[in-house]
């Protein structure tokens, strides 16, 4: 299989936060969602791929090329949409395009103009005067105008209205149909990923929880709901995150089949998982509440 992105033992140490030896790979022609609670390290991973922060250790390969050794070659085939797009605020959209275009041999001016029309971007307007959503659209237009084969997106949908969000997701799905364009999509709006992502990578506190296909997650992971008696020494090993309330227990399991077997006869319901449940319960995993229960 050909990979657009391969990350091996990536490590970044900040005071108070460490991204610990993260490894995952994104096959070419697919969309990968990068999920996790705030502070999990999603933005750090995107910045490390772009080399705008320096890694402490590890290796990043983009299109099979080392992202440090072949930095310019890698970046010329990579588009990015960052959470805070650092455009030159007082320049207008046309000026921004004229500054960025020379950096990309494959820049297509006609395509950029077409995208501006499609996204309703006022080309004479200063970037400072654009809303957050409009800035996101501009960043996306730039990324799509040079035919990027890997698009890195850090929280791209957070400032967008639901209509454009839906359009963006459809566009991303359309982009990968050529079999060579790939998208790494970091977001906390996990419902977006359920629509489009082929792979899901989950981070928590700087550690990789899993990186696998969306189908595998939806097949194997589930939510278990039951009364307070659901948690006992025989079942607690099944759960990776638990929420208790006076009315019962809701827990996350990564082995739906095993849960069916072990909970047979108990008054438990096994429900299909949604990705936001996954992030929520993984954040609960090994929380003080659960540790107290273990004791």
């Amino acid at each position: 299989m050909e990979y657009a992105l391969g990350i091996t033992n990536l490590r970044k140490e900040y005071p108070g936060f460490t991204l610990r030896d993260v490894s995952f790979a994104l096959p070419a022609g697919h969309i990968m969602g990068l999920i996790g609670p705030n502070g999990a390290g999603k933005t750090t991973v995107v910045k490390l791929i772009l080399n705008i922060v320096q890694r402490t250790a590890g290796r990043i390969e983009v299109f099979g090329l080392d992202s440090l050794a072949a930095e310019a070659a890698v970046k010329s085939r990579t588009g990015f949409v960052l959470d805070e797009m650092p455009f030159y605020g007082y320049l207008n959209i046309d000026a921004i395009a004229s500054i960025l275009a020379p950096y990309y041999k494959t820049w297509n001016r006609g395509r950029f103009e077409e995208l501006c029309r499609e996204f309703e971007l006022p080309r004479r307007k200063r970037v400072n005067a654009l809303s957050r959503g409009m800035k996101m659209k501009l960043a996306l237009a730039v990324a799509l105008s040079h035919g990027a084969e890997l698009i890195l997106m850090d929280e791209p949908t957070s400032g967008l209205d639901p209509v454009f969000r839906r359009e963006l997701l459809e566009r991303l799905s359309g982009l990968i149909q050529d079999g060579r364009t790939s998208v790494l999509f970091s977001t906390h709006l996990t419902s977006d990923l359920e629509r489009v992502a082929d792979y899901i990578t989950c981070l928590r506190d700087g550690e990789l929880v899993f990186s696998t296909t969306r189908d595998e997650i939806l097949e194997n992971w589930a939510l278990v709901k039951g009364g307070p008696d659901l948690l006992d020494p025989a079942t607690r090993g099944l759960f990776r995150g638990v929420r208790q309330s006076p009315y019962g227990v809701t827990a996350l399991t990564s082995d739906k089949e095993e849960a069916w077997r072990r909970l047979a006869g108990k008054d438990a319901v096994i429900e299909r998982l949604r990705l936001d449940d996954l992030v929520f319960f993984l954040a609960q995993e090994e929380s003080p509440r659960l540790e107290a229960w273990h004791e």
Binding site: P86, L91, A95
Partner: protein
Amino acid sequence: MRKILRMEYLFSRRQILIVLAIFTAYFAYMAYRIDSPRVFVIMTSIMLGLSMPFISLGREDKFKTAGLVCSLPVRRSTVVLGKYVASWTATVFGLGYALLFTAVFPLSKFSASEILSARTLLVSLFLISLIFSVILPFTLRFGLTGVIILLVGLQLLGVVAFALAQFAGRARNPMRIVVRAIEGGLRVLLHHKLTPGFLLALLAAFVALNAVSILVGRALYLRREL
């Protein structure tokens, strides 16, 4: 690098013109008040050497665009080289404007030949190189705030040094060594006979200073987290 220069030009051209328009009043005042063309050249070089790099680097700080530049398909070493060349271009442009303005300003106390001489230009370039060699690597690494801290820190260090000098007494004043070294250096620059050897030495020092500064700037910029 041409792309970086183009970017810097589009980004900073208006601000450079605004600053030079404001500086015109200063140039006119200095040319009218000061008798020595050498003092004028030294003051103008220091002023332009300090202000011109900050126009583009300061704006990069303000708009946080370093993240954008470093995400583009260009090596960071090229970005650093581009910023040095852009700073030099802006400063030389400013210097050229200042010298020409003063040469043609009707109330100026200097003649055009006094201002537009090989020595004047060499002294200017050398002084600007000295300023850039300290300021630019620091600005590239820590941004405008870092430079302000550096300058304030240097001023405080100066205050402490003078206080210590007063305390130590005139005979053992370590500041005299520093002041005399600067004075001696400037005297050599301004009065030494313009022999080919002297010009070559000055040129070599100019190139070496800039080369070392660029290498340090590059090493620091590679470590910058955006």
